[in-house]
């Protein structure tokens, strides 16, 4: 029963996408494009995750299932994504520095 409720709530979460992004989206068209973006994001990320099979099969299964779980339980992803990619200087700066840090860390210490 609990699981059923959870799934129903998750779907309600999708249909409430309109309220969550109502700053911009008011028409049918925009809601449908938000849904499309949502589906594209989830499906492409999952398909891209399958590429881990070149490293390890079991790892792939774990990663894909885990990713699917995370993505679906956080369902309206697009409002969050758009909020993170706004053109405010602090957000952009944060991601730029984060990328620089991760890139240098991986390249410098990842290959010893």
């Amino acid at each position: 029963m609990e699981l059923y409720d959870k799934i129903v709530n998750s779907f309600k979460g999708i249909t409430s996408i309109k309220e969550k992004v109502k700053d911009d989206l008011t028409t049918n068209e925009s809601v449908s494009s938000a849904l499309a973006a949502e589906l594209v994001l989830i499906s492409t990320l999952l398909i891209a995750a399958i590429m881990f099979r070149h490293i390890n099969i079991i790892l792939t299964i774990v990663v894909v299932l885990g990713l699917a779980l995370i993505l679906i339980t956080n369902m309206p992803l697009i409002p969050k994504l758009i909020k993170e990619q706004s053109d405010s200087l602090e957000k952009m700066m944060f991601y730029v520095i984060l990328t620089l840090g991760i890139l240098i860390t991986i390249i410098y210490w990842g290959t010893i």
Partner: protein, 497 residues
């Protein structure tokens, strides 16, 4: 006539300086700008392939009389084959790219001359300067020289945003400069590391030194140089995390100028991409890194593009997303994939310019770019609408247009190199690209016209129509005869691997 190679850069720079002097003398500016803009695509056709050494400083080994005079320790070392001066190399690939750059630059300059009431020598100066800078990027065989010209191109991009009178142009320009001031010095420090290790900034020399084991290829200094230069590449080409600011930059410029700005970005991306590929592709994780960022660019670009309501931002994010396809070409790293990626680059130059100029006519007629306030424009410009529709189909990859050919090649290359997942993602993204375009097209042209939309009662300028027609013809020709450019590109790609 190897002098023409250097003239490809010098002519636009000289013209830019002249136009700046003649600012406010409208007719002079107009004539000089048009003449030079016509000359730009012609020079690459006339020039011969070859190398140009600035100051005539060829490598020692090509000059036996000088070689005898230097001490033997130098004459017998690899120093004898190093390039002492800035070298431009002009091959078939540069010819193709400079030709298409010249075409788009011509139309961008032509349309903005005929549409703006006030002819601005300054805007013309910036456009020519940017064109010269990216031409130099393509030709140069010197990584430091590329950095310098990239900085010039970045400054002209900022200038081009400032000349538009949109609401937030100064803020966007400042943000771009701040982010650039973090990205560009990192690139410079990376180049510094390479200089410190190899002792030369000439790319051919660096590749020679690494491949002949003159330096240890996996030394930590080279690794950190790769990291910094790669980060610089993300900045210069607007891959994530720089995609947001790049799309903003496009949307803040006038549409004619934005058509040129996206060409600058694509060519910078390709020039630096080729450089990084030549120097660092021996690193085992190189291809993985490029693939990750290319896929990120595609996914983030397209999801952001769907959600936009301003059509200039929509095309801006689409243009950023399409860059991911070129990145896939470099990331897969086979001959076919690199050919496909570079071909996609050419197609993107043409198609995005077409869309920017095409939708620019809507902005010209209605003074708004908000799709929620637009509608029913097809009754004003029916023929133009159909031409833009075909352009959009080309971007989405519908046969027999050029986008189809290059995307098909990328999908094939992905399948050949054992990554069917990438092929699926590429197809998926191009479907959604089509959806974004249809959404924009519907809300601008097909939706019922809002009552409060005021449309200027004058025809679309002829210059725009001519530009769109020519670009559309190029789309169709390249779609039917892709071997016109792919032959020279695949020749180059073979040499790259």
């Amino acid at each position: 006539m190897n002098e023409l190679i250097a003239l490809m850069v010098i002519i636009p720079i000289a013209c830019a300086l002249l136009l700046n002097l003649f600012h406010k003398k409208d007719n002079t500016v107009k004539i000089i700008a048009i003449v030079v803009a016509i000359v730009l695509p012609l020079i690459p056709i006339l020039a011969n392939f070859g190398l140009h050494y600035f100051g005539g400083h060829a490598p020692l080994i090509t000059n036996p009389s000088l070689l005898e005079k230097v001490p033997e320790t130098i004459a017998n070392s690899s120093l004898a084959i190093f390039h002492p001066a800035v070298t431009y190399s002009y091959e078939a690939i540069q010819k193709v790219f400079i030709f298409f750059l010249g075409i788009v630059a011509f139309f961008a300059i032509f349309t903005s001359l005929s549409q703006n009431k006030k002819i601005s020598g300054v805007l013309m100066f910036l456009m020519f300067m940017g064109t010269a800078a990216v031409t130099a990027l393509l030709l140069s065989d010197d990584i430091f020289h590329m950095y310098i010209f990239f900085e010039i191109a970045a400054l002209t991009q900022v200038g081009i945003i400032l000349t538009s009178k949109t609401d937030n142009n100064y803020e966007t320009a400042f943000k771009y400069l701040i982010l650039g001031a973090i990205g560009a010095p990192m690139l410079l420090v990376g180049i510094g590391f390479v200089l410190g290790i190899v002792g030369s900034v000439n790319i051919t020399d660096i590749v020679y030194a690494i491949s002949q084991n003159l330096v240890y290829p996996f030394s930590h200094s080279l690794l950190i140089a790769f990291g910094l230069i790669f980060f610089g590449w993300l900045y210069v080409s607007g891959l994530p995390p720089f995609h947001t600011i790049k799309a903003n930059v496009y949307s803040q410029a006038l549409p004619n100028a934005a058509a040129l700005l996206q060409v600058f970005t694509v060519i910078t991306f390709i020039a630096f991409g080729i450089t990084i590929f030549r120097i660092f592709s021996y690193l085992p994780f190189f291809k993985t890194l490029v693939l990750i960022f290319a896929l990120l660019a595609m996914i983030l670009g397209i999801t952001m593009a769907i959600m936009q309501t301003d059509f200039r931002k929509m095309i801006g994010f689409l243009a950023v997303g399409e860059l991911g396809y070129i990145g896939l070409g470099f990331g897969l790293g086979t001959e076919l994939s690199i050919t496909a990626g570079l071909f996609q680059g050419i197609n993107e130059i043409i198609v995005t310019a077409l869309l920017f100029i095409g939708f620019g006519t809507v902005l010209y007629l209605t003074k708004t770019s908000d799709t929620r306030k637009l509608g029913g424009m097809i009754e004003h410009t029916p023929k133009l609408a159909i031409m833009i529709l075909i352009g959009g189909l080309a971007m989405a990859g519908v046969p027999p247009l050029n986008g189809f050919q290059s995307k098909l090649m990328i999908v094939q290359a992905a399948l050949d190199s054992g990554f069917p997942e990438i092929a699926i993602i590429a197809v998926l993204i191009s479907i959604v690209t089509f959806m974004v375009f249809v959404k924009a097209f519907h809300s601008i042209y097909l939706k019922p016209k809002p009552n409060n939309l005021k449309v200027l009662n004058k025809p679309v300028p002829n210059s725009s129509i001519i530009a769109i027609t020519v670009l559309l013809i190029l789309c169709i020709v390249l779609g039917l005869f892709p071997q016109l450019v792919t032959d020279s590109i695949s020749q180059f790609a073979m040499g790259l691997i």
